[in-house]
C-alpha cells in the first residue's frame, strides 16, 4: 500500500507539468509581491502599478520590438514576504513561465532570494527592498526603482535640521525585522551627521500593539524627535496615538513609509503634526492621468505609492526593450542604464548609487515631505536626494 501511494503521489506531481509557454508574440512579465499576510496592501499596489502600464501599452497596440509586436501580460506570485517564498516565486517565474523581467519583490529578504535564483543573468529584477545589499557591482541585472533609506534619510533629516534648529534628542522605534535591522544603522548615522543625538534605539517585535511602555520611556528620556523608521502603517498610527495620549509634545517623524493615510485613520485628531515622506504626490498635475486610470480600473480603493512606482518602472522597462530591439536580458539591462535623462512620471531619469554600492542602479527621484495639518495629509515640501 505504501508503494502505491508513493507512486500515485509521484504521478500526481508529474501531471502538474506546466503548460507549453506562450506564443512568440506574447511577452510575460513577472510580479513577485506579498499577497497574503501583513504586506498585502503594498503587494497589491505593486501588482496594480504594473498592470496599469501593461494595459496602457496593449491599448496602444502592443510593445514594438524590432520587427515584432508583443502583447504584454503579467504573471503574479505571492512571496509571503519571506525568503523561501521569494525563491519559490522566482524559480516558478523563471523556470516555469519563462519570464525574463521581474517587478518586485519589496521586502529585503525575498529580494535577495529572488536575485540568487536569477543569477547569473536569467532575469532583470526591478525591486524595491531597503537593504543596502540589494545592489552590488556583480548584480548587473538588478535595479532598485524606489528610493531606499541610504538615499532619502540624509535629505529628509537635513530638512528636519533646517526646519527645527533646536531639537537635539532623538528616539528611534523600529520593527525587529529584516528591514528594521538593516535600516537603523543608516538612520542613526544620518541623524548623527545632522547634529542630533540618538538617545534611544528600540526594536519592536511583530504583533506588538501596546507601545505605551516605549513611549513612556521616550518621554522620561526627554526625547524631542520620535523616529518611526519602517514601522508598518498600523503600528505607526498606534504609536502616534499612544504618544499623544501620554502627553508627548515633540516631533513624530517617519523616515520611511508610506503610511500617512493609515496614521490619520488610526490616530484621528491626535495625528496632527505627524511628518513623513511620500515618494509621490498624487495631487500633482502629472499624476492626474494615472490616478484617473487607477480609479477607472480599481474604483475607490486607496492607491498607495507602489502603484506609481511600479507603473513608472514598467514604462522604463518598455522603453529599454524598445531601444534594445530585443528581449535579451543583457541588452535590456544595458539600455536601462542608458535611460539617464529620459522623461518619466517622476521627472527626468537619474541613476545613482555608484559611490555607495559600486553600481549606478539606484533610481533617484525627488520625494515629498508630508505632514498632517488640520487632520489632513498635506505635502509641505519637495526634496532632492
Amino acid at each position: 500500500m505504501r508503494t502505491t501511494l508513493l507512486a500515485a503521489a509521484a504521478l500526481a506531481l508529474a501531471a502538474l507539468i506546466n503548460p507549453p509557454q506562450g506564443a512568440a508574440a506574447d511577452l510575460k512579465l513577472g510580479v513577485i509581491a506579498p499577497l497574503s499576510g501583513g504586506g498585502t496592501d503594498w503587494g497589491i499596489g505593486t501588482q496594480r502599478g504594473v498592470e496599469l502600464a501593461v494595459d496602457e501599452i496593449n491599448a496602444a497596440g502592443g510593445l514594438r520590438v524590432g520587427s515584432e509586436t508583443y502583447r504584454v501580460s503579467t504573471v503574479t506570485y505571492d512571496d509571503q514576504y519571506s525568503g523561501q517564498g521569494g525563491t519559490t516565486a522566482a524559480t516558478r517565474l523563471i523556470e516555469g513561465d519563462g519570464v525574463k523581467f521581474i517587478f518586485g519583490p519589496l521586502g529585503s529578504t525575498p529580494v535577495l532570494a529572488a536575485q540568487a535564483v536569477a543569477a547569473p543573468g536569467k532575469a532583470v529584477i526591478l525591486s524595491s527592498g531597503y537593504s543596502p545589499r540589494i545592489l552590488t557591482p556583480q548584480g548587473r541585472h538588478n535595479f532598485r526603482v524606489t528610493l531606499a533609506t541610504p538615499e532619502f534619510a540624509p535629505a529628509f533629516i537635513g530638512w528636519l535640521r533646517r526646519t527645527n534648529a533646536q531639537a537635539k534628542r532623538v528616539g528611534i522605534i523600529s520593527p525587529n525585522d529584516a528591514t528594521g535591522q538593516s535600516v537603523v544603522p543608516i538612520l542613526v548615522d544620518a541623524y548623527k551627521k545632522a547634529g542630533f543625538e540618538v538617545v534611544l534605539d528600540e526594536k519592536v517585535e511583530r504583533g506588538t500593539s501596546d507601545f505605551t511602555p516605549l513611549v513612556t520611556r521616550m518621554i522620561a528620556q526627554r526625547i524631542e524627535v520620535i523616529e518611526l523608521d519602517s514601522s508598518t502603517p498600523g503600528d505607526a498610527g498606534l504609536i502616534v496615538k499612544q504618544a499623544r495620549q501620554l502627553g508627548y509634545r515633540g516631533m513624530i517623524m517617519q523616515t520611511g513609509g508610506p503610511a500617512i493615510d493609515e496614521v490619520v485613520n488610526i490616530a484621528g485628531g491626535l495625528a496632527e503634526g505627524y511628518t513623513t515622506m511620500e515618494w509621490f504626490d498624487a495631487g500633482s498635475p502629472e499624476a492626474a492621468p494615472l490616478v484617473a486610470a487607477y480609479r477607472a480600473k480599481y474604483g475607490k480603493a486607496p492607491m498607495n505609492a507602489f502603484v506609481p512606482i511600479m507603473y513608472n518602472a514598467a514604462k522604463l522597462l518598455f522603453e529599454a526593450v524598445k531601444r534594445a530591439g530585443s528581449t535579451d536580458v543583457t541588452a535590456v539591462s544595458a539600455e536601462l542604464e542608458k535611460l539617464e535623462g529620459h522623461p518619466s512620471l517622476f521627472g527626468a531619469v537619474r541613476w545613482g548609487g555608484q559611490e555607495r554600492y559600486g553600481i549606478n542602479h539606484q533610481l533617484m527621484t525627488d520625494f515629498f515631505i508630508a505632514q498632517v495639518k488640520q487632520g489632513k495629509p498635506t505635502v509641505i515640501d519637495r526634496v532632492r536626494p
Binding site: 502505491t4 508513493l6 506531481l13 502538474l16 525563491t87 532570494a113 540568487a116
Partner: protein
C-alpha cells in the same frame, strides 16, 4: 526492501511478493525519472517536498510517542544555521557541515529533552512552543552570527554541480529515501513497538519494563536530528536562511502534514506533505481561500478521519474489495 520493512503484522500477506517488488520498482523508477519529465519549477517543488518529508518524518516519530513539539522547526533552524555558518565562516567541507547540522540539533535535543520531557500533553506543547520562540528570537537578534532578521544569503550549494536543481533533486531524493527507510525500520523494530506502547499508555508501558523516559528522550533526539538535517539541506538548496522560516507556524505545518496525512503510520507525513504542497496548485485562483480550506480540512480530518488521508485510502480499498466480492457472487 521487504527485509527492511519486516514486521510481524505487515498486512502484506495478501500481496504476492512479485507484485510488491514490481510496485516498489515502479515507484522508484517514477521518482528517479521525475526531473527528466518535469520542468524546472516542478523539480524545484518536488525537491522541497522531499526535503520537507525528512523533517515531517522526524515530527512523526515524536508524535508516535504521543508528543507534539511546536519547537520542531526551530531545531531545523539549528541544523541550518550550524551548517551554513560552519561552511561560510569557517570554510569547512559540506559533508562536515551537514553532519554537524544533525549533530547540533541532536545535542541540543539531548540537552533540552530530559528537561522538557518531564512535561506531558498540553504542557509539553506549550513548553516546546516557548522554547522554539526563544530560539527564533536568538536567530533574529544575534546579528553578528546569524545575520539577524535578514539572515544569510548567497549560501553556496554543497558542491558546485548541485547548483542545478535537477542534481539537487537527486541528493534530496537520496536523503529523503534514507530517512524514510530508517524511520520505517525503526518503527517496525522492537523499539518502535515500545514507542507505540508508550503512546497508548505510559504507566502500563513503564510497568511492562519499558524505560519510558529514556525512550522518549531518544525519540525526541532522533526526531530533532532529522529536523536538523532537513534544515541543513534546505538552507543549501534555497541558498538563503532567515529566522522567518523557523517560526512556530512552520512547526504547525509539520503538525498539519502529519494529521492530514495520518498520524498512525509513516505513510501519513509523506502523503500529508505532498498534499499540502500540491493543494495550492489545485486551488490556484483561490489563493485567498486556501488557508480557510486548510483549517476546514484540519477540523474535518480530526472529526471524521482520525487516521488521515491514509485511512481514507484504506477505507476506499476495503469498499472496493467488498464491492468486487459482492459482484463476484
Amino acid at each position: 526492501m521487504a527485509l527492511l520493512l519486516d514486521s510481524d503484522d505487515a498486512p502484506s500477506a495478501r500481496w504476492r511478493p512479485l507484485a510488491r517488488w514490481a510496485a516498489w520498482a515502479a515507484a522508484a523508477a517514477a521518482l528517479l525519472a521525475f526531473p527528466l519529465a518535469a520542468g524546472g519549477f516542478l523539480t524545484h517543488t518536488a525537491t522541497l517536498v522531499l526535503l520537507t518529508v525528512i523533517g515531517a518524518a522526524g515530527f512523526h516519530l515524536i508524535l508516535r510517542v504521543g508528543l507534539v513539539s511546536l519547537g520542531h522547526a526551530a531545531f531545523a533552524g539549528i541544523g541550518g544555521y550550524t551548517s551554513v555558518i560552519l561552511m561560510m565562516t569557517f570554510g569547512l567541507p559540506w559533508i562536515v557541515c551537514f553532519v554537524a547540522g544533525g549533530v547540533s540539533a541532536a545535542a541540543l535535543a539531548l540537552l533540552v529533552g530530559p528537561i522538557v520531557l518531564r512535561l506531558k500533553g498540553v504542557y509539553f506543547v506549550l513548553i516546546t512552543f516557548t522554547f522554539g520562540e526563544i530560539l527564533r528570537l536568538i536567530f533574529n537578534d544575534w546579528q553578528s552570527m546569524t545575520g539577524g532578521a535578514n539572515g544569510i544569503s548567497h549560501i553556496p550549494p554543497p558542491w558546485p554541480a548541485l547548483m542545478d536543481t535537477r542534481a539537487y533533486y537527486y541528493l534530496a531524493l537520496f536523503a529523503a529515501g534514507a530517512a524514510i527507510l530508517f524511520c520505517a525500520r525503526l518503527l517496525a523494530s522492537d523499539f518502535g513497538r515500545k514507542m507505540d506502547a508508550i503512546r497508548e499508555s505510559e504507566s502500563l508501558a513503564e510497568a511492562n519494563g519499558i524505560p519510558v523516559f529514556a525512550v522518549k528522550v531518544i525519540v525526541f533526539a532522533i526526531g530533532c536530528t532529522l529536523a536538523g538535517l532537513q534544515g541543513s539541506l534546505q538552507a543549501h538548496f534555497i541558498r538563503l536562511i532567515s529566522p522567518l522560516a523557523y517560526s512556530f507556524q512552520e512547526s504547525l505545518n509539520f503538525l498539519v502534514m502529519n494529521v492530514v496525512g495520518g498520524s498512525n503510520s509513516l505513510v501519513g507525513p509523506i502523503v500529508g506533505t505532498v498534499f499540502l504542497v500540491a493543494l495550492p496548485e489545485f486551488l490556484r485562483g483561490w489563493v485567498e481561500y486556501q488557508f480557510i480550506i486548510y483549517g476546514v480540512i484540519l477540523v474535518v480530518v480530526m472529526a471524521a478521519l482520525p487516521g488521515g488521508l491514509v485511512e481514507l485510502w484504506q477505507r476506499a480499498c476495503r469498499w472496493i474489495t467488498s464491492l468486487s466480492t459482492r459482484s463476484g457472487r
